[in-house]
């Protein structure tokens, strides 16, 4: 079923809309959530909560395209779960990804005034705009979607080693970018 039809079902307050949403995008939603919370049951709960969030937001919202919209809700709820300490195990893909970031950006907290997340997002966005499309996708796959090196390599037709090397360079480049702008996180 196409996205517009699903949204129409939400507008009609038909619960079939949620079933169709799950049929179409449930797999990718669960995968994203599992990468963050590292637990099947928890990820299932997060995805269900995200569907409820979408149910409450549509209408009046009429997101187009629908997939990024629902993924953003899934990610936010999963991260709330993760940072709230309710994630069963902090050993999943997201934990590993955050450890990489922590290692590579250590030492950026020497400046007195800390930056707000929204402002940091704007600067990261500017930094992403300096990358090639492929490197940008690799970065987002790793730190937004919490994909493993293997998954990224498979998606982009690269070797895992290549993905690893590229991510290391991108992190180093981002660190330099943030240092030049005197960013403290």
């Amino acid at each position: 079923m196409d996205d517009e039809k699903i949204i129409e079902l939400f507008f009609e307050r038909s619960e079939r809309g949620i079933r169709e949403l799950d049929n179409k995008y449930g797999k990718i939603c669960r995968r994203l959530s599992y990468g963050i919370v590292n637990n099947r049951q928890d990820s299932e709960e997060c995805v269900n909560d995200a569907y409820l969030g979408a149910w409450n937001a549509i209408p009046p919202a009429r997101p187009s395209p629908l997939l990024p919209y629902i993924l953003r809700i899934v990610r936010n709820i999963s991260l709330k779960h993760y940072w709230g300490g309710r994630a069963a195990k902090r050993g999943g893909a997201y934990t590993v990804a955050m450890e990489e970031i922590e290692d590579s950006l250590a030492g950026l907290n020497t400046v007195e005034s800390e930056i707000e997340a929204r402002e940091l997002a704007r600067i990261i966005g500017e930094f992403l705009d300096t990358l090639t499309a492929e490197n940008r996708v690799i970065f987002m796959r790793r730190y937004w979607f919490a994909d493993s090196y293997r998954d990224i390599a498979g998606l982009l037709g690269l070797s895992e080693k290549n993905v690893s090397v590229r991510l290391t360079r991108i992190r180093e480049k981002m660190k330099q970018y943030l240092i030049e702008r005197e960013v403290s996180v």
Partner: protein, 267 residues
């Protein structure tokens, strides 16, 4: 370093970065063997020219010679295809590179192309995936096109016409392939096979002067980015039958059918 703040900031990123990831298709790889394919193509060209030239030099057989035992029909002389098959492919820089609909490129034999992505039978402004057929060296060429799945459509003067399979298209025609088929009772069905083959026979008048086979492959929505209705295409084979001694060769539809079948995996 506060990784939570970094994580929060990632969540605040503009949606276009997420859109880009979901719509990203890897660039069609130029395999290592591509240069060997190119070299082989050059070799074939030289070989076909040599065969054509030697055929001209060969003395005419006398009537007595041909009156004896019947020999098997000779294989037609072939040369690289004369079909220029244009598709709208994902642009090399990705969908965000100022060309959301992709760019027009001419398909090369054996090279897989990620088609202009996100064609969706229900939501797209186009009736299907467009293929432009032309044979610049044969202005009078006509194309007999058939597909073993989905539907072939023509989109002219604002109207969409289902095309019979096979149907004949003129030089420069644009045909659309759709995964939706409409049955006689008007119901619409989704063609769910992963692979579709489009067979193209090129004629000048009654004479067959070439053929081509295109494979269309549905991307696996479970492969990571879950975009339905995205496809790859590959020109599996494109062959022409050049004139010998200034005359068309006697190429039969049966011969072309068998060669087209061989060009498909498992054929």
């Amino acid at each position: 370093m506060n990784v939570k703040k970094f994580s929060d900031a990632m969540g605040e990123l503009d949606t276009r970065y997420v859109d880009e990831v979901l719509g990203y298709r890897r660039k069609p790889a130029w395999p290592v063997w591509a240069k060997w394919v190119a070299a082989a193509a050059c070799f074939c060209l030289i070989l076909s020219a040599a065969i054509t030239f030697s055929a001209r030099l060969r003395p005419q057989e006398s009537p007595e010679d041909v009156s004896g035992a019947q020999s098997p029909a000779p294989e037609p002389v072939t040369a690289p295809g004369l079909l220029a098959l244009t598709v709208r492919a994902v642009s090399p820089g990705g969908e965000e590179a100022g060309s959301p609909a992709g760019e027009e490129i001419v398909m090369q034999e054996g090279v897989e192309i990620a088609l202009g992505s996100h064609w969706n039978p229900a939501m797209s402004s186009r009736p299907g995936i467009p293929f432009t057929l032309s044979a610049p060296e044969c202005p009078g060429a006509a194309f007999e096109v058939s597909a073993d799945g989905g539907a072939l459509l023509l989109w002219e003067d604002g109207g969409i016409t289902p095309a019979e399979s096979p149907f004949s298209a003129g030089n420069g025609a644009v045909i659309y392939w759709s995964s939706l088929t409409q049955s006689a009772d008007g119901s619409v069905e989704l063609y769910e096979n992963d692979t579709t083959y489009i067979d193209i026979v090129i004629r000048e008048g009654e004479n067959i002067v070439g053929y081509a086979v295109v494979g269309i492959y549905a991307d696996d929505p479970d492969a990571g980015d879950a975009q339905a209705f995205t496809y790859h295409a590959e020109l599996l084979k494109s062959v022409s039958f050049p004139a010998v001694d200034g005359d068309y060769q006697n190429v039969t539809p049966e011969y072309v059918s068998s060669e087209i079948a061989k060009a498909k995996p498992g054929g």
